[in-house]
């Protein structure tokens, strides 16, 4: 089920009412309802893959309990390895099987050996990368004795399949989410209202910004050879906003929905396009994945400790694996490597933690330096996104070359107002996004209010109403999937 469909608009109130009015007397019943609702939510897409989540959940639940009783280090290692092999094995099969076969055959052909290629028609189960990482982290944390494994199977199944974040994150850690299933939930009006606003903002980002940008992005990237330099610039910029709005929009809806049920999920995006350097960008972009890789890959590899070689190796490892996580294509690997190249100078010069606060904190406008830092970081990120969006690396380089050559050939197009005419609506919507998010850049989302002043209620309601009308008028409602469903 997609968040941006009428199905979800019907599903959510039904589950909400059952949750707070029918099952509210029993915590177990509430958790059971979450499991059922989550399985319906997931099964709406393809019920056959429910067996995969069930299997994955069962494996880690049993391994968790076995780890609790087992003190022998060797046996504990075997148990952890079993969990990792099963989880990553499923991920590798469903997501990377054809990619490896293709590359294996191509590699052999370089040496004159021509092998018969046997690829399988494998459907990628939605969200597999997300819930696999969630169950993996549970197994690892239990192994490290950082987390006491749960004996409550319903809570565990609810933790793995929790429908707001099941298919596209945030990738929750068991230490944060699982204990919330043990505690009685009390309805909190302020949280629910905030959740509702966050859903509204997420829908705006997804339906208005991402899906409208997609129309231009698809056309520009498909026909990039016939486009002018300035058009290619717009294509790249629109994609930067498309992917941000699509993914952070999903996260906002997920976090907002969880709030309606009394859960707190971690912030996944902290206004990353207002970052002053790449290190800050990566602290603000897809936080749940970045911190996952930090805790379960980067730090175990030695992190930023050790010599220069180790720093370089670890940085490349984390960024390349992160790229590969996004999809079975060399473009993602290159995108990851490029970000590693961006990041390394900061790390080696020990400047990677220079900007840990919010840009222009306490001020309305950034200073000139901050402004250009933000602009330059956005430029670097946008160049990297071109690799992410292109079909292959050659196309990405070609796109970039054409873009720069085109800009120098006909820079005057940028000041020709008729050039922007077809893009007027989407540029206007992106401007609203930037302004709203800039104003709330120290908050969790753009519609968060710390002190809801009842005197200004009419204005706030007017603003929400206007936003919803904008979504209705300018939104794209043809069941477009979220980009990150494919990851």
């Amino acid at each position: 089920m997609l968040f941006n469909t009428i199905d979800f608009a019907i599903f959510l109130p039904i589950v909400f009412i059952l949750y707070w009015f029918v099952t509210n007397k029993s915590l177990k019943l509430q958790n059971f309802l979450i499991v059922v609702a989550s399985y319906v939510f997931y099964g709406w897409w393809d019920w056959r893959f429910l067996s995969l989540i069930t299997f994955s959940s069962l494996v880690d639940f049993v391994i968790g309990l076995t780890l609790l009783k087992e003190n022998n280090l060797r046996k504990r290692k075997y148990l952890l390895a079993t969990s990792i092999i099963i989880n990553l094995g499923l991920l590798a099969f469903f997501k990377y099987f054809n990619f490896f076969i293709d590359n294996f055959v191509e590699a052999f052909s370089l040496f004159g050996k021509h092998l018969n290629k046997t690829t399988l028609n494998i459907i990628l189960p939605v969200g597999i990368s997300f819930y696999t990482f969630q169950t993996l982290s549970y197994g690892i944390d239990v192994y490290r004795k950082k987390l006491t494994p749960t004996k409550d199977i319903i809570s565990f199944f609810a933790f793995v399949s929790f429908f707001p974040q099941l298919v596209a994150g945030p990738i929750e850690r068991a230490a944060n989410l699982l204990p919330q299933f043990y505690k009685k939930r009390v309805f909190n009006l302020a949280d629910a209202s905030d959740g509702f606003r966050q859903i509204l903002w997420g829908l705006f980002k997804k339906i208005v910004i991402a899906d409208n940008s997609a129309v231009f992005v698809n056309d520009i990237f498909l026909n990039y050879a016939d486009k002018s330099g300035p058009e290619l610039v717009l294509g790249a910029v629109f994609f930067a906003f498309q992917i941000y709005s699509d993914f952070s929009g999903y996260s906002d809806i997920a976090i907002g929905t969880a709030k309606l049920f009394g859960f707190r999920l971690m912030q996944n995006f902290a206004f990353p396009y207002f970052s002053r350097d790449i290190a800050e960008f990566w602290r603000r972009w897809h936080i749940s994945l970045s911190t996952w890789f930090r805790d379960y890959l980067y730090i175990p590899l030695g992190g930023s400790k050790g010599g220069i070689k180790m720093k370089i190796r670890n940085t490349f490892a984390i960024f390349i694996v992160s790229g590969f996580w996004h999809g079975a294509n060399w473009t993602f690997v290159f995108w990851g490597a490029l970000n590693a190249i961006y990041f390394l100078p900061l790390l080696l010069l020990n400047k990677n933690r220079k900007n840990t606060d919010t840009v222009a904190q306490g001020k309305f406008f950034p200073n000139i330096k901050e402004f250009f830092q933000v602009l330059f970081t956005f430029f670097l990120t946008t160049i990297a996104w071109i690799f992410f969006r292109s079909k292959n690396i050659t196309q990405a380089f070609d796109y970039i070359k054409k873009m720069f050559v085109g800009i120098f050939k006909s820079p005057q197009i940028f000041v020709n107002h008729s050039f922007y005419a077809p893009y007027f609506n989407i540029l206007l919507m992106i401007s609203i996004l930037i302004i709203m998010e800039w104003l709330k850049r120290d908050k969790q989302h753009a519609l968060q209010f710390d002190n809801v002043d009842s005197e200004k209620r009419i204005f706030r309601w007017g603003a929400y109403l206007a936003l919803l009308i904008v979504i209705f008028i300018f939104g794209v409602f043809d069941k477009t999937e979220f980009i990150y469903f494919a990851f």
């Binding site: 009428i6 707070w20 309805f187 009006l189 629910a192 209202s193 509702f196 309601w461 929400y464 109403l465 919803l468 009308i469 209705f472 008028i473 409602f477």
Partner: protein, 304 residues
Amino acid sequence: MKKFIYKVFIFAFVFFMSVFLLAKITSIIVKNRHFKNYETESNLLVINKNKSYDILIAGISHARNFSRHKNQLRVEKILNKSTINIGQGGGICGAEEQYFYLDYFYHKKNKTKKVLYVLSTPILFSQSLPMASNTFNYETFEFDFFYRYLFVKTQNKGQRLFYYVKSKFDKKWFKLKPAKADFKSDSLLKVDTVEVKNGQKKAFMSEKDSPIFRENCLAVENTIKLAQANNSELIFIIPPAVFGKWIGHEETMAFANEMTKKYGVKVYDFSETMLDPKYYYDHHHLNSKGVSFFTEKYLKPILK
């Protein structure tokens, strides 16, 4: 909790009312451009209250063709009768929605002596016509139309209603103006058998015993009942095509004949009456010359 639900309800109510109000405002703006039946494909722009007509023409594009390009003026002159055309072309409207338009026509206390139902074979077979979500995109927003349609049992209702309202904020809607075409003079130069074959294939996506066929037949049957309940005589005509009979012609005729037995509906099969390409602008749509010729030669005698 109650406060939250109460707030959500109030918000939802205010939202829907605001959207309906804005949709109504844009509709009034467009309606004030005063469309004539032959200047638009929209029905709500021309269905008024308490009007009487001699003939109401219903069906898909083959029906609408009797009003497009000012053909309506020619038809009315030849027949010496007043007409209103509620046929919907462009592959956006099926039998169920044709029923609904006629129902709305009567609901507005309008009258017609005869309903000329252009029973094109695709209206009974097509899978895509009942699923179109843009059926009402060029209709003015009328709350009673919206409300009545809410309770109609039809396919893809939610999407259709959603886009009915949403389209009232579209650039295309704001730009809608009376069509100025006077005469459709294009003529088909020759019959392209491959195109005919492909076109027929496209139009027939369901089998004669499929649920779609049965549902469409039921919708047409309900239309007969509705017309008769409102003292209108419903007449079926099978429109001509340059290739003669459509695939599914036999089933269409069998259904029409069954309706004759059940309700006494008159059926006229004109499918093979005009095989000269000069009367068509494509393989099954009459040009203005074709419409005049057909009206004079075939419609006039049966609509006396």
